[in-house]
């Protein structure tokens, strides 16, 4: 049988463990890749910077319409490869509200898979992405029942 001395030590260890678990449950680590570009105040006001290298970041890129009805991995790969070759570092894309929703509810799994594929190809070509989600999906149950509520204040 353990002596009270060992029991006390065991209790302290347990307490530390419980506190450790409690700490990480209160402050869970993020389950996504942290966004690399941050904002700070520079000599001329707000500026973007690379949070890993601490270097100021200026975006040079293009708007690119990727076909979400007939997504082509090859087309996206070819375009992004050219962007990289020409020295661009960013691309702005539109998430098509007609395609992103799932008529059965929520978002289209296929469209999300394609979007992730695009992001992976952008990463492989050192491109940062500005996704534009400009309208509520036409399907998926996102439009409020009274559509007049969506307009104007």
């Amino acid at each position: 049988m353990w002596s009270s001395k060992y029991l006390s030590k065991y209790t302290r260890l347990c307490s530390v463990f419980v506190l450790f678990v409690l700490f990480f449950s209160l402050f869970p680590s993020p389950v996504y890749a942290l966004n690399r570009i941050g904002i700070r105040q520079g000599a001329n006001g707000g500026e973007f910077y690379d949070t890993v290298t601490n270097n100021k970041f200026i975006f040079r890129g293009n708007n690119y319409y990727f076909d979400q009805w007939f997504y082509s991995r090859t087309d996206v790969q070819n375009v992004f490869t050219q962007f990289k070759q020409y020295g661009y570092n960013s691309v702005r894309i539109f998430i098509n509200h007609e395609v992103v929703g799932n008529p059965s509810g929520g978002l289209s799994s296929q469209n999300m898979d394609n979007t992730v594929d695009l992001l992976k190809k952008a990463k492989a070509n050192n491109l940062y992405v500005f996704p534009v989600l400009y309208k509520l999906p036409s399907t998926g149950g996102y439009i409020p029942p009274d559509s007049s509520l969506t307009a104007n204040i």
Binding site: G45, N63, L149, A151
Partner: protein, 440 residues
């Protein structure tokens, strides 16, 4: 911007981001989520068309005879803060933004939509210290534009007034924003040239000067409208047309400093690495095989992507199986055997009794993605029961045993016959497909 609309937008943004996280998307490359493009109000629609009475909005109650501007501003701040907060609840390090087109273009451009405007108190987007929106940065869109005005006459005026076109410059457009704070970065998220907007210069030179003149303002980035299709759809000059004329003045390899008109000298040519090479061999109702490699890096294995009938993506695999000397020689490899072969199981989706054309592409991280030689073969495979994994004409215990043996395995789409639904894993969905066809 009623609360139900705000809630819907919050839910959409959160669902979208959560779906990215579920798929382990590389969110580190996302600069910021833009949740509204070229925000405007419609003055000829309710409630802004009302000139009296009060309205209940998501932020407060407003008198429409005297508080329209306040109603717009306060609701914009309330809406954008709620959506921005919702985004950060699921991705705390994300940045958020909204884009705008210049108020003066909306007000004066000859083909502008009537009765459209953004708030005149634009400061609410750039100055959160004064109670403005909490979005992290602002995306402005500046397009060359013009408005028409009657030429003033002093003595004898013509019967038909003379009309002249007055360009709206970068300065005109920026002054209209009345930006009062530089704490938030701004980007020029769209700039381009409409083909309806004739200029004395070439489109490329015009846009070059347009970009340089924007450098009077503290822009932290420039994105052209647009690379290809988006520009063509909207009748704008695309960056890649005319042998890439606009690209040759916009691309950083040609002009390193976006604020200087001088091109980088000597003009570098884009790197032209030898494309991958490869050959599509057998295309049957059982397998596709062949080889692919990269002559610029003979030890590297390249991915190959399979398509049916043009755009129907079937799946991918890596060409890394051992192949004989002839293949190694064609790829420039001194090894023998060399790891450039591939085998891909014919997907069940093609087994429908119809003819299908098969194209295979080699995917290179450095260059273009050519079709393999001999692509374009056609096959017609008899329709089979989903679940007939051993192709013996019936779904029975032998198919069941194959699937159970493969259960839990993952790979490229259709990597084994047990991946009946071609989702890259043998799982409960494949099991259900087999069971539902059992005995057929």
């Amino acid at each position: 911007m009623s609360q139900p609309y705000i809630d819907a937008k919050k839910r959409f943004m959160q669902d979208f981001i959560n779906e990215l996280h579920k798929r382990n998307a590389p969110t580190e490359i996302i600069v910021g989520y833009e949740f509204e493009n070229e925000l405007t109000f419609q003055l000829d629609q309710k409630p802004l068309s009302l000139s009296s009475g009060t309205i209940q909005t998501a932020s407060d109650v407003y008198d429409m005879s005297s508080q329209k501007e306040l109603a717009m501003s306060a609701n914009l701040v309330n809406w954008s803060n709620q959506v921005s907060d919702a985004i950060k609840q699921v991705e705390p390090t994300a940045l958020t933004t909204i884009s705008f087109t210049s108020p003066i273009v909306l007000a004066k451009q000859k083909f502008a939509t009537k009765n459209t405007q953004i708030v005149s108190t634009f400061w609410i987007f750039v100055d959160s210290d004064k109670g403005g929106s909490s979005i992290d940065f602002v995306d402005l869109h500046l397009y060359p534009a013009a408005f028409e005005e009657i030429v003033p006459c002093k003595k004898k005026c013509p019967e038909v007034p003379e009309i002249r076109s007055v360009p709206i410059s970068v300065d005109d457009q920026m002054n209209a924003y009345q930006i009062t704070s530089n704490k938030k970065p701004i980007i020029l998220g769209e700039f381009g040239l409409s083909k309806d907007n004739p200029t004395l210069e070439t489109p490329a030179d015009f846009l070059l000067n347009w970009q340089v003149s924007s450098c009077t303002y503290p822009f932290q980035g420039w994105l052209t409208w647009a690379w290809d299709q988006a520009a063509k759809i909207t009748n704008y000059w695309s960056v890649d047309e005319n042998d890439g004329a606009i690209n040759q003045v916009m691309a950083p390899i040609y002009r390193a400093n976006p604020c200087k008109a001088e091109k980088t000298l000597p003009t570098p040519t884009p790197p032209s690495l030898p494309p991958p090479v490869g050959y599509l061999g057998e295309v049957s109702c059982t397998i596709f095989n062949g080889w692919a490699g990269d002559t610029s890096n003979v030890t590297r294995s390249v991915d190959v992507h399979f398509y049916a009938d043009g755009s129907n993506f079937l799946g991918m695999t890596t060409a890394a199986l051992p192949r004989e000397k002839a293949v190694c020689d064609a790829n420039g490899s001194t090894e023998n055997p060399c790891n450039h072969g591939f085998v891909f199981n014919t997907p069940v989706s093609l087994k429908d009794g119809k003819s299908h054309t098969i194209d295979v592409y080699a995917i290179s991280p450095d260059g273009f993605n050519p079709k393999l030689t001999n692509s374009g073969k056609t096959i017609t495979c008899p329709a089979t029961n989903p679940g007939d994994l051993n192709s013996d004409g019936k779904v029975d215990i032998f198919d069941y045993n194959i699937l159970i043996g493969d259960f839990g395995k993952t790979g490229s789409a259709g990597f084994v016959p047990s991946d009946i639904d071609n989702n890259g894993k043998v799982d409960i969905f494949d099991y259900n497909l087999l069971v539902s066809n059992y005995g057929k």
